[in-house]
C-alpha cells in the first residue's frame, strides 16, 4: 500500500510538470487555432538557456525562471509578428501552420546542435540530490519544487485570464474574433500577446525540465506529444481540464512502468491518445468533435 501511495504522489508531482507544459500549447491553440509544433523546440531551447545561465552565470534555475519567461515572451511575440501572422486563419491555415512551425522547430534544433553539440546536458544544483519526505516517502526536491511552481504558474495564469483586461480580451478573442473587434479589442495584438505568453510558458516548462531531466537538441518531441495528449484528454476549456489530463497521463506513465518494459513508457502517451480517440472522439471532456 505504501508502494502505491508513493507511486501516486510521484504521479501527481509529474502531472504538475506536464500541466505547465501543456498549458502553453493549449493557450496558443485555443486562441489562435494554431498548433505550435515549435513548442517542443521552445522547451528544449529554454532548457539550454537555463543551463547556460546556471553554468556560465551561476544563476539558480528556479531564480532564472522570470528572466527566461520574459525572454521567451518576446521570442514568442517576434515569432508571431515575423511568421505566424502571415498564415491564413481557420481551418484553411491548419496544414500550413503545422508545416511552418515544424520548419521553425527544425531550425531551432539545428541551432542547438551548432551551439551545444548533441551531447546530453543537465542542470545539477547543490540540492539536486536532496529529498523531501512526503507521507513517509522521500521525493526529490526538484520534483516537489517543479510541482509547486507549476501550480503557482497555472493559478497566476488563470487570474490573468479572468481578472485583467488583457486576459479577458484573450478570452473574448477565443470566443469570437469578429465580435471582439467590434467591441474595440485589437485582435492582432491579442494574438501576438497570446503567442508570447504561450511561448513564455514553454520557457517555464523548459527551465523546470532542465532540473528534472537530461536533455539534448532532440529533446522536446516527446514533450510535445505529451502536451498534445493532455489537451486531447482534458479538453481546451479550462485549467481543470488540463489538470485532469495531466493527472491521467502522469498516473498512466508511472503505473505503466510495472506493466511495460521501460523503453516503452514513452509510447504510453501515444497509446493512451489512440485509445481515448477510439472510444471518445471528442476527447474525455470535449463536447465538440476534434477538428
Amino acid at each position: 500500500m505504501g508502494q502505491v501511495l508513493a507511486l501516486a504522489v510521484s504521479a501527481v508531482l509529474l502531472a504538475g510538470f506536464y500541466a505547465s507544459m501543456a498549458y502553453g500549447l493549449g493557450l496558443i491553440y485555443g486562441v489562435l487555432r494554431v498548433v505550435n509544433l515549435a513548442h517542443g523546440g521552445m522547451i528544449m531551447a529554454s532548457a539550454y538557456l537555463s543551463w547556460v545561465l546556471f553554468t556560465k552565470f551561476s544563476i539558480d534555475p528556479y531564480l532564472a525562471i522570470p528572466i527566461v519567461m520574459v525572454v521567451f515572451f518576446f521570442v514568442g511575440v517576434a515569432m508571431y509578428k515575423g511568421l505566424v501572422r502571415f498564415l491564413p486563419r481557420g481551418a484553411a491555415g491548419g496544414v500550413q501552420s503545422l508545416l511552418l512551425l515544424f520548419g521553425v522547430w527544425l531550425v531551432i534544433r539545428n541551432l542547438a546542435y551548432l551551439l551545444f553539440t548533441g551531447d546530453d546536458q543537465a542542470v545539477r544544483t547543490s540540492y539536486s540530490t536532496a529529498s523531501i519526505p512526503i507521507f513517509g516517502n522521500h521525493y526529490s526536491v526538484n520534483r516537489v519544487a517543479v510541482f509547486v511552481i507549476s501550480l503557482v504558474a497555472v493559478a497566476l495564469l488563470q487570474l490573468w485570464l479572468s481578472k485583467t483586461y488583457t486576459g479577458k480580451a484573450v478570452r473574448g478573442v477565443t470566443e469570437n474574433p469578429d465580435s471582439s473587434t467590434l467591441v474595440g479589442i485589437d485582435v492582432e495584438r491579442v494574438y501576438a500577446i497570446t503567442f508570447g505568453v504561450g511561448t513564455a510558458l514553454a520557457g517555464l516548462a523548459g527551465v523546470l525540465a532542465s532540473t528534472l531531466f537530461a536533455f539534448n537538441p532532440s529533446f522536446g518531441s516527446g514533450e510535445l506529444l505529451k502536451s498534445f495528449v493532455i489537451i486531447v484528454l482534458g479538453g481546451l476549456g479550462s485549467v481543470i481540464g488540463i489538470a485532469v489530463g495531466a493527472l491521467v497521463l502522469g498516473f498512466a506513465e508511472i503505473f505503466a512502468i510495472y506493466v511495460v518494459p521501460s523503453y516503452l513508457t514513452a509510447a504510453v502517451g501515444f497509446v493512451l491518445l489512440v485509445v481515448v480517440l477510439v472510444v471518445r472522439p471528442g476527447g474525455l471532456f470535449g463536447s465538440k468533435v476534434l477538428r
Binding site: V35, L37, L83, R85, F86, L87, P88, R89, G90, A91, A92, G93, G94, V95, Q96, S97, L98, L99, L100, F102, G103, V104, W105, L106, V107, I108, R109, N110, L111, Y113, L114, S218, S221, G222, L224, L225, F228, V232, P261, Y263, L264, A266, A267, G269, F270, V271, L273, V274, L277, V278, P281, L290, R291
Partner: protein, 363 residues
C-alpha cells in the same frame, strides 16, 4: 484501345514516352556510375514522395511518421532476404504489404482525427515504432542493423531500372487515384469531411484505402533502399529525419500534384548529396528554412512556382492541377465556373505576393 473515362490519351502518351526515354537513357548517354546509381535512388524517393503525397496532398492529412512504414517494409524485406533467401522483388512486395497492414493498424483509429491532431499522432507513431524496432533486436538487429547477403540482389546499377518500374507504377497509381472517382471522393473529404459523408462518400473507407496504398508503397521503397544500401539499421530507417524527408519532398515539390513530389525528390537528393557533403551539420536547419520559405511564399512549392510562371505566359492550369493544394477551402469558385479556379495564392497578408494571381482567397 478504350481508356476509362477519366484518363486522357495525352497523359498516356506522355507517360509512355517518358518511360521509354528514361529506360533507354543510360544506353544512349553515359552518366557515369555515380550519377546513374543516384538516379535510381532518386526514382525511389520520387515514388516515396508521391505515396506520401497521396495522404498528405490528396486527402489532406500530413503524416510526420511515414518512416514507420519505410522501416517496416525495409526490415521485413531484408529479413526475408537474409533468413529465407527470397528473390528481391518478392521481399519488396511482401515487405510493402506488411508495411501497408501496419499502416492500417495504427491509421484506422487515428484517421478519425483531422488536421493537426492526426499529424501529431503520426509523430507519436513514428517515435513509438522506432523505439520498438530499436529494441527488437531479433528482427532488426538492434543498433547493429541488418546486412543483406551479397550477390543475391540486383546491383545498384540494375536498380536504376527497377526504380524506374517502381516509379512508373506509382505515377500511374497517382494519376488513377486523382482522376478517377476515388480521387473526387478524396478531394471531397479534404474539403469538408462531413459534407462528403453526407453525399455518400465513405471517409473511413477512402482514407483507409489511401493509407494502405501509401504505406505499402513506402514499404516497398524501404525494401528498395535495403537492396540499394545492402545494409540498414533501425536508427536510420525509422528516424524522425527520415519521416521529415518525405514531408519535405512532398511540400517543397508541390503538395497535391504529381510532378511536385518528383521535383521535390530531385531537390532533396541534390541537397543531400552535394550541399550536405560540404556542410553536414546544417541539414536540419536547411530543411527547416526551406519549409518556412515555401509555406510563406509559395505554399504549392515548386509546382506552384511553375504554375505561376505558366500563368504569366498565358497558360491556364487544368482544374485538376489547380485543385490539388494545401488548404481545404481553397477554391471559392465552383469547379464548373468558366475559368478554372487558380491554385491558392500566397497568404493574403501579401508576403511576396506578385501581381498575377487570381483570387484564391481563403478565410
Amino acid at each position: 484501345m478504350h481508356l476509362p473515362v477519366w484518363a486522357s490519351r495525352r497523359a498516356l502518351i506522355v507517360f509512355v514516352v517518358a518511360f521509354a526515354v528514361l529506360y533507354l537513357a543510360p544506353f544512349v548517354v553515359s552518366l557515369g556510375d555515380y550519377l546513374h546509381n543516384l538516379a535510381g535512388l532518386a526514382f525511389m524517393f520520387m515514388a516515396a514522395g508521391l505515396a506520401w503525397n497521396w495522404l498528405g496532398g490528396y486527402v489532406g492529412q500530413i503524416s510526420f511518421g511515414h518512416a514507420a512504414m519505410f522501416g517496416t517494409g525495409g526490415f521485413t524485406s531484408a529479413r526475408l532476404a537474409v533468413t529465407f533467401g527470397l528473390p528481391f522483388w518478392a521481399t519488396w512486395l511482401i515487405g510493402g504489404m506488411v508495411a501497408g497492414v501496419y499502416a492500417l493498424l495504427w491509421g484506422h483509429p487515428t484517421l478519425r482525427l483531422r488536421g493537426p491532431y492526426f499529424s501529431i499522432a503520426t509523430i507519436g507513431v513514428g517515435e513509438a515504432t522506432r523505439l520498438v524496432a530499436t529494441y527488437w533486436t531479433d528482427f532488426t538487429g538492434g543498433s547493429s542493423g541488418l546486412s543483406l547477403p551479397i550477390d543475391t540482389g540486383p546491383t545498384k546499377f540494375e536498380l536504376y531500372w527497377y526504380g524506374l518500374y517502381l516509379l512508373a507504377a506509382v505515377v500511374a497509381m497517382s494519376y488513377w487515384l486523382r482522376k478517377s472517382r476515388i480521387g473526387l471522393g478524396l478531394l471531397a473529404i479534404k474539403e469538408d469531411v462531413e459534407a462528403a459523408s453526407d453525399v455518400g462518400v465513405n471517409p473511413s473507407f477512402y482514407q483507409d484505402l489511401v493509407l494502405f496504398l501509401s504505406g505499402t508503397v513506402v514499404g516497398v521503397c524501404g525494401g528498395f533502399y535495403a537492396s540499394y544500401q545492402a545494409f540498414i539499421d533501425p536508427l536510420d530507417m525509422f528516424s524522425f529525419e527520415r519521416s521529415i524527408s518525405f514531408v519535405l519532398i512532398g511540400v517543397i515539390g508541390g503538395i497535391g500534384t504529381i510532378l511536385g513530389p518528383a521535383m521535390g525528390a530531385i531537390v532533396f537528393i541534390v541537397i543531400q548529396e552535394f550541399l550536405l557533403a560540404s556542410y553536414p551539420q546544417l541539414y536540419l536547419g536547411l530543411y527547416g528554412v526551406l519549409l518556412i520559405v515555401v509555406i510563406l511564399f509559395e505554399p504549392l512549392g515548386l509546382s506552384g512556382l511553375i504554375m505561376r510562371l505558366g500563368r504569366r505566359l498565358g497558360i491556364k492550369p487544368s482544374p485538376y492541377a489547380a485543385a490539388g493544394g494545401l488548404s481545404p477551402a481553397s477554391s471559392p469558385d465552383a469547379p464548373d465556373a468558366p475559368d478554372p479556379p487558380g491554385p491558392p495564392g500566397p497568404p493574403t497578408a501579401s508576403v511576396g505576393a506578385s501581381g498575377h494571381e487570381q483570387d484564391g482567397g481563403r478565410a
